[in-house]
Symmetry: C2
Subunit: 184 residues, 2 copies
Amino acid sequence: MQASMNQIVTLDKDTWGLLRNVLVEHQLVKGDLLLKPGQVCKHIFFLQTGLLRSFYLTDGEERNVAFTLENSFVTDMKSLRSGQPAQLSIQALESSTLQSIPKADLLGLYERSHHLEAFGRRLLENLLEEQEEYAAWFTLYSARERYNRLVKKQPDLVQRVSLGHLASFLGIRRETLSRIRKLK
Amino acid sequence: MQASMNQIVTLDKDTWGLLRNVLVEHQLVKGDLLLKPGQVCKHIFFLQTGLLRSFYLTDGEERNVAFTLENSFVTDMKSLRSGQPAQLSIQALESSTLQSIPKADLLGLYERSHHLEAFGRRLLENLLEEQEEYAAWFTLYSARERYNRLVKKQPDLVQRVSLGHLASFLGIRRETLSRIRKLK
DNA sequence: TAAAATCTGTGACAAAAGTCAAAAAAGAAG
DNA sequence: CTTCTTTTTTGACTTTTGTCACAGATTTTA
């Protein structure tokens, strides 16, 4: 966790100490839910090993909106900030190890440590950039183009995630992705 | 600007003084470009009055990915952070007044003021939340549903923006939006 | 490893959205 | 006002994607 956080901002020893104090380790097995709709999301999570998906359940259909690969952070920003019950679910697609940071502790640490606040800001810039790119794909590219770009951008992800989950993330039906794959 | 920034974090007088020092006012008339593809984006902008759109130009087609209403911030996060030439264009849809903050100054201020850094972090959380919602609409809803939700969420925007620009933002053709409007 | 469950591929057809062309409407400019 | 320009609407047709049903594969698990 330290190594991958240092790629964003190098934190001093004191800040690390503070942060380490509030971390709690979790283990999930494939299929476990880290966040269920109706729950208030009160943590941010750092995924050490494994793979997660974030999805909405609307009229009986699950729609993936994100995958989380190892060494990255995940939460439901909307529920976390508002304190309202989540609409989102977060589920382990593979057995996973992660650290959680309670919201209350994080806010305290942000106040105490300018460095950590700077880390938070830069992490959010990263996430925003990614999210802007993901959204733009829908207006800029066809289903087939989105798939091709995903393969180029995250070949590892495409290997590890089932066709059905990928299709949902790309905003298309399993059958359509199956056909896209066949014809090239 | 102070009023709308205070809704995010209340900044102390000193920080305000620092920030005010680096602001530069700009006027745009309808049609003016604030950012052109190929330019490196070196500022963040605060829109005081007017209306902007952000769009990509791909094979001769303009595709809108965002609108900026008064009292909000806008930039090309990707170009700003990477220092690479922008792909994005930002254009005034109405005559606009805005303040710009040079990247170099902003980074300096972030270091000097923990408060401003906190402001930045919270602003980014807002932007991320919005962007996540926008992206999710494409996987969750049909063209017609996206349009209906936009009308409910930002009726003001729907009034002020032409059908063509709205359609592009929703990821559909003008003709399709025209038909959606007719049939209800 | 056999049976069950889940996931993927395929075909035939339906629905949604795109394309192209042209007319109508609305807005800007002299 | 009247003309010019841009935007919106409409119709006919095409393409893309979705739907449903079912057959093969693959994976899980007992």
